[in-house]
């Protein structure tokens, strides 16, 4: 029946899988170039994107792996607060930068590790375990910080500020290179390494993976630990960029990061994850607000448009994925069977 070789020669076709989303991004930018030429034809707006998008991007890259394994992490906004607090307070109290940075990363990793143990060993569904973690760690941060924002203006003179958020050549924000590095490493892990293959197998069917000898709990713990570490890295970048720590600094990140991951084509059902997709998904989500405001629509439209793009993108992925490259007919017949109440294994 299906005598079509839908996949290319190698697994490098993540790049091709994300093609629709790359096109969507180009279309969005072109539209904004037309509706807001004075903003979108200059370089400053792109410079601004490159300073703001890396944070949801780094988070989204980590979350892509977690979601590809069939899990979810809702706790990363609180890790951004927690690790940011640790970094800011250690810096303020010691004047050092490297030690606070490392301790902040370790703290993020530790929170992630706890999430992983709760999910993989104790057996709490990840949505609940990490929802609990979200309250717990942001609550702890508020308690420890007294609920105050901390100004760390002096950090602007430190080397670590130049390293993570400096402007290379006076133009290019350093954080975009860090995000790019994370993207390259995670793409490699997901598509070229055993670990990524196991992540996909677990997301596809964790029982099959288990009986075939994959270490399912271990892999999940590593994934959540990785997610915590990346959230801590984002926290440090954010704190450095703003030269301020505040207790709710991660709270706006949850929904836009998830939107970026799903716009990029990673499946909530697990077994499928696209690093390229998340990369462009993050830039789509990050560009919309600026574009909408510059167009003159007013910021109130942002959420509406993000929602629209998210739904359209996921519908597109679903249509492309379900029909496995055959035709819209098989997609429709699938949808029909599903409606008739058939179990969609």
């Amino acid at each position: 029946m299906a005598k079509i070789d839908i996949k290319g020669e190698s697994r490098g076709l993540t790049s091709i899988e994300a093609l629709p989303i790359i096109l969507v991004y180009i279309v969005i930018v072109v539209v904004f170039m037309i509706t807001a030429p004075e903003t979108f034809l200059g370089y400053r707006i792109y410079q601004s994107f490159m300073s703001t998008v890396p944070i949801p991007l780094i988070l989204g890259l980590g979350l892509t792996l977690v979601v590809a394994a069939g899990e979810i992490d809702l706790s990363f906004p609180s890790i951004i607060a927690f690790s940011g607090f640790i970094f800011a307070s250690l810096y303020k109290n010691t004047g050092q930068t490297l030690m606070p940075f490392i301790v902040a990363l370790i703290a993020g990793a530790a929170v992630g590790f706890v999430n992983g143990v709760l999910v993989a060993i104790v057996g709490i569904p990840s949505i609940i375990a990490t929802l609990g973690g979200q309250f717990l760690w942001s609550g702890l941060t508020v308690i420890l910080s007294g609920g105050l924002a901390w100004n760390v203006r002096d950090v602007r003179n430190e080397f670590i500020h130049r390293l993570f958020v400096g402007r290379i050549g006076g133009v290019l924000p350093a954080q975009v290179l860090w995000a790019l590095l994370v993207a390259v490493v995670l793409w490699f892990i997901l598509n070229r390494h055993k670990f990524g293959e196991h992540v996909l197998f677990i997301g596809d069917n964790s029982e099959v993976a288990r009986v075939m000898g994959v270490n399912v709990p271990g892999t999940k713990i590593i994934l959540f630990t990785l997610m915590g570490t990346l959230a801590a890295l984002s926290a440090v970048i954010l704190t450095l960029e703003m030269a301020t720590f505040w207790t709710t600094q991660g709270s706006g990140m949850l929904l836009i990061t998830m939107a970026a991951v799903f716009i990029g084509g990673t499946s909530i059902f697990g077994g499928k994850g696209s690093i390229f997709g998340t990369f462009f998904g993050s830039f789509i989500v990050g560009s919309l607000e600026a574009g909408i405001v510059a167009t003159g629509l007013g910021g109130f439209w942002t959420r509406f448009v993000v929602g629209l793009v998210l739904i359209l993108a996921v519908a597109l992925h679903s249509a492309l994925g379900r029909s496995t490259g055959l035709s819209a007919v098989s997609f429709l017949s699938f949808a029909f069977r599903k409606q008739k109440g058939g179990d969609s294994s």
Binding site: I4, I6, K7, G8, H198, D204, V211, V214
Partner: protein, 256 residues
């Protein structure tokens, strides 16, 4: 007498108060196809899951190739050469055939001298070889498993078991949910493997399948072994009686 490839002695597994497998003894000899029979809930799947390292026995011992083995994880069983084809847990749907064949035991090659990366090229080549050896045709190694037919899926799953030079192959309902033609193909595969001296345990509800490929039958009821028969010395009627309990057969056969 030749040494058994697999021998289980007094193997027992309890789930809470339920005794799923109750002091089960069983042997499998080289080159032999053993049919494991029993009604739903008789404990067949639980038994084989203990042999393949998925469950840990509460009591009893497992001997493989003459040595006692303790399997902590499914990987331990796979490393011994015990390959299992699970009824419900065969393949990862979203991944392609060769990724499934190498699931959990991916081939890698060095990259930059120290990082091990997946060797897709060689996995594809090896998959092609094993599928050819079994005379299995699938449209493309790159197709996602969910686009294959039931028989093609089963073929990939069997191909996976064979590739690793199984020393014991366990097939749990290998022909369930297959078309007639595909069933025959799977049975041909079983015969082919027996001719290569690989011992096989096969679980099936299809008596026709069982009688056409097995040498010996082990019948379980409520977690216990109730009978053992040489296939050519018994009949489907007797086997059915043993599976459901002969008293019930007599009652049903009574007129009125």
């Amino acid at each position: 007498m030749e040494n058994a490839t697999l021998e289980v002695r007094s193997l027992t597994k309890r789930f809470g108060g339920l005794v799923a497998v109750d002091h089960m003894d069983m042997q499998v000899y080289p080159g032999e196809v053993v049919g494991l029979l029993g009604d739903n809930g008789a404990g067949k799947s639980t038994l084989i899951k203990m042999v393949s390292g998925v469950y840990h026995p509460d009591e009893g011992r497992i001997f493989f190739q003459g040595k006692e083995v303790k399997m902590g994880t499914p990987m331990d069983a796979l490393e011994l050469g015990i390959e299992t084809l699970y009824q419900d847990l065969a393949l990862a749907e979203n991944l392609d055939a060769y990724s499934n064949i190498f699931l959990g035991r991916e081939k890698t090659k060095p990259f930059l001298g120290f990082i091990k990366v997946l060797d897709h090229e060689s996995m594809r080549e090896e998959s092609k070889k094993v599928l050819n050896r079994l005379e299995i045709e699938i449209p493309s190694l790159h197709n996602q498993i969910k686009t294959l037919s039931g028989g093609q899926r089963q073929a990939v799953a069997i191909g996976r078991s064979i590739y690793w030079n199984a020393k014991l192959l366990i097939l749990d309902e290998p022909t369930a949910a297959l078309g007639v033609h595909e069933q025959r193909k799977v049975l041909d595969l079983v015969r082919l493997l027996r001719s290569q001296n690989i011992p096989i345990i096969i679980i099936s509800h299809q008596l026709y399948d069982i009688f056409s490929v097995t040498d010996r039958l082990v019948i379980m009821r409520r977690g216990k072994k109730v009978a053992e028969r040489i296939t050519k010395d018994t009949t489907p009627d007797e086997v059915v009686g043993l599976i459901i309990g002969s008293e019930e057969v007599e009652r049903n056969n009574r007129p009125g």
